[in-house]
């Protein structure tokens, strides 16, 4: 094999290694979905909760891992153990909520305020029937849109 041919093969291999390594690095470090700028599916807390209660399979198919823009009336505002703001939106069930963990704290909000929160719907936990505690629908990485 001529020396020039060997040189060309080595150069091509180096280029391939660089391309594959760069692609792997970019893929491994790709950012999380941009929820702030995404368009959310419009719904409200009462409707969303009712759909999970009445037919959770259908609700999962429609909403699971989907970005939603949920409007509703605030039941409670608190902080979790990592000091992230948690906003509970009222549903038709007094002890159940659409449970929204904020990515960015919503300043000045309080119980009774009407808001819209955009975030990732991750599903419903059915609560505990024995203790009489109804479940919540959970949203993650939420932003206030109204």
């Amino acid at each position: 094999m001529k020396r020039r041919t060997v040189k060309n093969i080595v150069i091509i291999l180096i280029i391939l290694v660089v391309i594959v390594s760069t692609c792997g690095y970019l893929l491994w470090n790709k950012p999380h979905a941009n929820i702030r700028d995404a368009k959310g599916v419009e719904t409200n807390a009462t409707e969303l909760y009712a759909k999970f209660i009445s037919d959770s399979a259908m609700a999962n198919a429609a909403y699971l891992n989907t970005i939603l823009n949920v409007s509703g009336i605030i039941k409670n505002v608190s902080l979790n153990q990592q000091q992230q703001q948690v906003i509970l939106l009222k549903t038709m069930e007094a002890a159940a909520s659409v449970n929204c963990t904020m990515e960015e704290n919503a300043d000045g909000v309080k119980a009774g305020d009407e808001v819209s929160l955009k975030g990732l719907c991750i599903g419903y936990i059915g609560g505990d029937a024995e203790m009489g505690i109804p479940g919540d629908v959970f949203m993650l990485r939420c932003y206030r849109t109204k």
Partner: protein, 136 residues
């Protein structure tokens, strides 16, 4: 578990479970702050319910692998624990402190249920308290 109280029964819907794994290439960690957890201070009954896809990783690709390749969260959406804290009567909610406890019960993950027994602590501070069972 700073949460709500009905008599001797305490619960939260925003409890926290986290894990950390030291690896040669890159450490792996995730937090889940949407844990529904219930504790009866009279009987020691402890339960928690976890949405698997609520574990949030620093990197999107880690989260994707965790959900699709390992825990298959589409198929096995939740994990549950039902157990008992031994000697719950030794925990004094009127007195701040750290109380060592033993927990035993059944843990279901990825469609498989196993009996486990582990230690932990209940930290009582002011009027709230936080159970910290550790799984190994």
């Amino acid at each position: 578990m700073s949460g709500n109280c009905f008599g001797q029964e305490y619960f939260t819907k925003n409890g926290r479970i986290s894990f950390f794994s030291k690896a040669s290439l890159e450490n792996i960690s995730a937090d889940n702050n949407q844990v529904v957890s219930l504790l009866n201070m009279q009987t020691g009954a402890l339960r928690f319910y976890v949405l698997i896809n609520a574990f949030h990783f620093p990197k999107a690709m880690m989260e994707q692998h965790f959900n699709s390749d390992y825990l298959e969260s589409d198929k096995y959406a939740t994990s549950t624990f039902k157990g008992i804290i031994a000697g719950i009567n030794n925990v004094d909610l009127e007195k701040d402190g750290s109380y060592a406890i033993d927990v035993s019960g059944s843990l279901e993950i990825h469609g498989v249920t196993k009996n486990i027994k582990t230690g932990g602590t209940i930290n009582v501070k002011m009027e709230s308290y936080q159970p910290h069972p550790s799984l190994k």
